[in-house]
């Protein structure tokens, strides 16, 4: 049953470019899937381990800049740059994790916020590397062929498939992660960190490993962002709002669930993009509103709510 739903979802996701030629819809799909990757990345740490980071934009931005700088200065193709962006993101996360994980609960959140602001200010001022507020721009992407056909980078469809692969990969990884030993450690840490430590779990190591993995996913998404939009600047990839959006997508969709982030992304990104098309500004109103409603009435998120309703339904049918 679960597998059928999962396979069905993947099928629908992959079929979308065949069903429509509307560029806006394809763009919307790309945005939703990119945010799915980001929500999934945040969810590993925030959902499974209960460590609320307000600084994940750091890894996204580092990934985006890594890909841009490697391409502009060394000519390294963006798809390698994208993966390297993830790796650099993970490396950057190690010192950050070692510092911030000395703190717990809301103090950890505040520390990640501060780190993210420091990184943003550095990106803004280290002009030799990042060109500062001007940002970095790439005009063309290198030629590449899949089979015998060369990829048309002017169309949105190749980007759609690329990000779809990333999103599905991130979700599968989350699934594997949640069933691994590390996943079990994290649940123990989330429920009671002191007890987890007293039964011999190396909590710092578990959290740092998870953060690195989460940062890798966020960094890859950043690399993808750079490749798709071909332009990055500090305000686009390092703002606090970006970190907060990731949090909201995971929480509204469903914390510590595999499907939560994609549900959250479909819902929030679609509503806010439609709003943005119509009114230009203020599209995050819904993020704020949905977050408040979710915490108040549906703390397990949309997907958690659906799942609970389904279980109750099945149980009622059986009895």
């Amino acid at each position: 049953m679960r597998r059928a739903v999962a396979a069905g979802t993947i099928g629908v996701v992959l079929a979308i470019p065949f069903l429509t030629t509307n560029q806006f819809l394809v763009h919307l799909g790309i945005t939703v899937l990119m945010w799915t990757v980001l929500g999934t990345a945040w969810n590993l740490l925030g959902g499974y381990a209960g460590q609320v980071s307000f600084g994940h934009a750091t890894f996204f931005g580092v990934g985006a800049y890594t890909m841009m700088i490697l391409y502009l200065k060394l000519g390294l193709a963006p798809w390698y740059g994208m993966v390297l962006g993830g790796i650099v993101g993970a490396l950057v996360s190690l010192p950050i994790g070692l510092i911030c994980f000395r703190l717990r609960g809301p103090y950890f959140s505040l520390a990640t916020l501060a780190v993210a602001e420091i990184v943003r200010l550095v990106a803004l001022n280290w002009e030799a590397l990042t060109s500062g507020p001007v940002g970095l721009l790439i005009t063309t992407l290198p030629q590449v062929s899949v089979g015998s056909r060369s990829v048309n980078w002017e169309s949105k469809v190749p980007f759609y498939y690329l990000v779809a692969i990333l999103a599905v990969g991130a979700m599968l990884a989350t699934y594997g992660f949640s069933r691994s030993r590390l996943g079990a450690y994290l649940l123990a840490i989330r429920e009671d960190e002191d007890t987890a430590e007293s039964i011999g779990i190396d909590t710092v190591r578990a959290k740092v490993t998870t953060l690195a993995f989460s940062a890798f996913l966020a960094g890859v998404a950043g690399g993808f962002y750079g490749m798709y939009f071909r332009y990055v600047d500090p305000d686009a990839v390092f703002p606090i709002a970006l970190s907060v959006e990731m949090v909201f997508i995971a929480v509204v969709g469903g914390l510590a669930t595999v499907a939560g982030p994609i549900i959250g992304a479909i819902f929030l990104v679609t509503v806010s993009e439609l709003f943005r098309e119509r009114f230009l500004v203020g599209h995050l109103i819904f993020y704020g509103l949905c977050m408040m409603l979710a915490i108040r009435y549906l703390p397990e998120g949309i997907w958690g709510g659906i799942r609970r309703a389904f279980t109750t339904y099945v149980a009622a049918k059986r009895s």
């Binding site: 609960g105 103090y107 505040l110 916020l113 550095v122 995050l284 704020g288 915490i295 703390p299």
Partner: protein, 285 residues
Amino acid sequence: MVQSLVSGVLTGSLYAMIGVGLTVVFGVMRIINLAHGELVMLGMYGAFWGLTLWKLDPFVSILLWTPLMFLVGMLVYRFLLQAIIPGGELNTLLYTAGLSLLIANLALFVWTGDYRTIKLPYAMLPMRPFGIAVPIPLAIAFGLAILITGALYFFLTRTDLGRAIRATSQNPEAAALMGVAVDRISMITFGLGSALAGAAGVLLAPSLYLYPTVGEILISKCFVIVVLGGLGSVSGAIAGGVLLGLVESLGAVYVSVAYKDTIGFVIFLLVLLFRPSGLLGVAKS
């Protein structure tokens, strides 16, 4: 040198006022109110519209906006926050993050993202006591900030209601046993915090650019301040505010203008790591 000291203390007094609002709310309710910066932003826009629509000087319209923000804060607590508090610190943190995004984006929607400034006729008059340039609006704001913060300090230490607030802050259960209506106190405290934020916003308005997401920057400064002073400590927040003002203005001169904001965050991290109870934490307990 003296110049940067003076401007550091002047701005620092306003930071302190914002920080005090955040810290009393944290003390009583254990809420880290991420929407605090947006309350300051509302105060700033209050000052702007007061001047634009009714020709009210910000330093007059503060008499209107402060009680109004007090009321808004109480309503926010009663109808939005109260039900969330039993869910724990992380839930309220996420909830106020939502509130903050909601307020900022509603403001963006209604007032657009344009940068606005408040021009006061007397802002350009030179005032140079002892050869130090002091912007007049900032000097008035400084005076009022001291007055308001001093009044609050008096209120907290000398009145029954203030004592009840401090008692709840130290131990809610014991305070409840002693007959303090903790829920009512929480509501009043949240109103008080919002009023302080709003008043600080009005005072800051003539010296800063106004735009709907200005709260984001203010709130991050605010965290630096309250963590410097120890979360929940009023005198700590005052000291932290002045300290941050000084660090920023001296840092801009002696380190680099570009990195002046970074210094604050680095200190913030260091304090969080090595003195989590704040610089004044030990002296207090």
